[in-house]
């Protein structure tokens, strides 16, 4: 049987390549889930972030989060802009030599009312320590009702005293338990903070095993 030619070849090629291309695009282009107009605005903001030297994934994630939570387009864009501003302000407070995780954690703290000055104070005392876990705990405490000045000053003092990530983790768990049992959030933090041993900055943490904050099944 003679099958004519290039026309059939092109049809066969298109039938194979077009779906493959769409699948590849879907895998590699998460922004494809955004409406076209919103996508354009988000991409413009991501371009601006690149110019500022800011990470773009948090902006992309905030937009996709809004789509998943079925927020209106204008609300999504407002939140992406808010995230952009928080990252920019966090960068100003922390300086250039911080990781993306520290930057996003600091941006979250700023959105809770922690000031740039308070963040800068922590950054100045960080030496070679990482700020991510203290800032995550700080944000959690404020979200649970601990007054932000109490939370920031307590976390800062612990950080200065050389508290390790393990210490902040146990602090968070203890405060959470105390709040759940009815203790005033601010008082719960102050009580638990007194239990954290003082260490000279740079000293190794008390435990060598590290049941880090990520292992949610262990809590």
């Amino acid at each position: 049987m003679k099958v004519p030619s290039s026309r059939w070849s092109l049809v066969a090629l298109a039938a194979l390549l077009v779906p493959a291309g769409l699948v590849a695009q879907g895998e590699r282009d998460p922004l494809a889930r955004l409406p076209a107009s919103l996508r354009y605005d988000v991409e413009v903001l991501m371009d601006s972030a690149r110019i500022y030297g800011l990470p773009v994934l948090p902006l992309q994630s905030k937009a996709l989060e809004g789509v998943a939570k079925r927020a209106p387009e204008r609300k999504i864009m407002a939140e992406v802009i808010r995230e952009f501003r928080s990252l920019r302000d966090a960068r100003v407070a922390l300086g250039p030599s911080v990781s993306v995780d520290e930057l996003t954690a600091a941006a979250g703290a700023l959105r809770l009312g922690i000031t740039q000055a308070q963040l800068a104070q922590m950054a100045r005392s960080r030496t070679d320590k990482i700020l991510t876990v203290p800032l995550v705990v700080l944000a959690d405490l404020v979200s649970r009702g601990v007054p932000k000045d109490t939370a920031s000053s307590t976390i800062f003092q612990l950080f200065q005293k050389g508290a390790a990530d393990d210490d902040f983790q146990s602090l968070w768990r203890g405060v959470e338990r105390d709040i759940d049992s009815g203790t005033d959030p601010g008082q719960a933090l102050l009580n638990r903070a007194r239990e954290i041993p003082s260490r000279s900055p740079g000293a190794p943490p008390a435990s060598t095993t590290r049941p880090d904050i990520s292992e949610t099944q262990d809590r």
Binding site: V3, P4, S5, S6, W8, S9, A12, L13, L16, L17, A20, A24, R28, R33, A49, R50, G53, P55, V56, L57, P58, S61, K62, L64, E65, V67, A68, K69, A71, K75, A78, E79, R82, P96, S97, V98, S99, V100, D101, L103, T104, A109, L112, I130, T132, V133, V136, V137, A139, D140, V142, S143, D165, W172, D212, I213, S214, T216, Q217, R219
Partner: protein, 198 residues
């Protein structure tokens, strides 16, 4: 041939003979015709590019066509995975490198188990910045004790996430630190995976 002609009707033979008679062309008409031909511009040599854009007839058996198509798809997939091997956009890799030049090139992802106790739920999924907040990407499995669990491999660092119960209800992980207000009226959680960048 002459035998065939002789077998034809005489009138047909006359027509054939007339058709075979040379046509007399006037000498001046022949000269005019040849002058007109010479006056025509010489045909230009076709440029090489014209060969590529001119329509061509390509004939391939269907089996060869399918094989060629599969080969092209394979090349594309291999190239794509080679370029984006770690699943992050090149721009994002560049920005991370600019922000944290002290980080090592390789960080080891860790498998993290997420658990939500929700015996009344009919389905639970995990969403977060690690899966693009795709509610269909990471379903949790019901456990015999009524809880729901899923394991996700995450790079070291801070991740924001939430559970989605029955497709619509976003619930923060009660066993994890709370993330700052998400701006959409829901609560998120934070996981910090230990590693170089945490």
């Amino acid at each position: 041939m002459s035998d065939e002609l002789s077998a034809l009707d005489p009138s047909v033979q006359d027509v054939i003979a007339e058709a075979r008679r040379p046509v007399a062309v006037d000498a001046s008409a022949r000269r005019l015709l040849m002058e007109a031909v010479r006056a025509e511009p010489r045909p230009r040599r076709a440029p090489i590019l014209a060969w590529f854009v001119a329509p061509k007839r390509l004939t391939m058996p269907p089996l060869a066509t399918l094989a060629a198509a599969a080969g092209l798809v394979g090349i594309g997939v291999i190239a794509g995975y080679t370029i984006n091997r770690d699943g992050r956009a090149p721009t994002e890799r560049a920005s991370r490198a600019a922000v944290t030049p002290q980080l090592p090139d390789s960080v080891v992802p860790r498998a993290i188990k997420f658990v939500l106790i929700a015996p009344q739920a009919s389905q639970v999924a995990l969403v977060g910045d690690f899966n693009g907040w795709d509610t269909g990407a990471t379903p949790a499995e019901r456990q015999p004790d009524g809880s729901w669990a899923t394991v996700v491999t995450l790079r070291p660092g801070r991740h924001v996430y939430s559970f989605v119960v029955d497709g619509t209800h976003f619930i923060a992980d009660p066993a994890a630190p709370m993330a700052p207000d998400d701006g959409y009226g829901q609560k998120n959680s934070v996981v910090v995976v230990a590693g170089a960048s945490s």
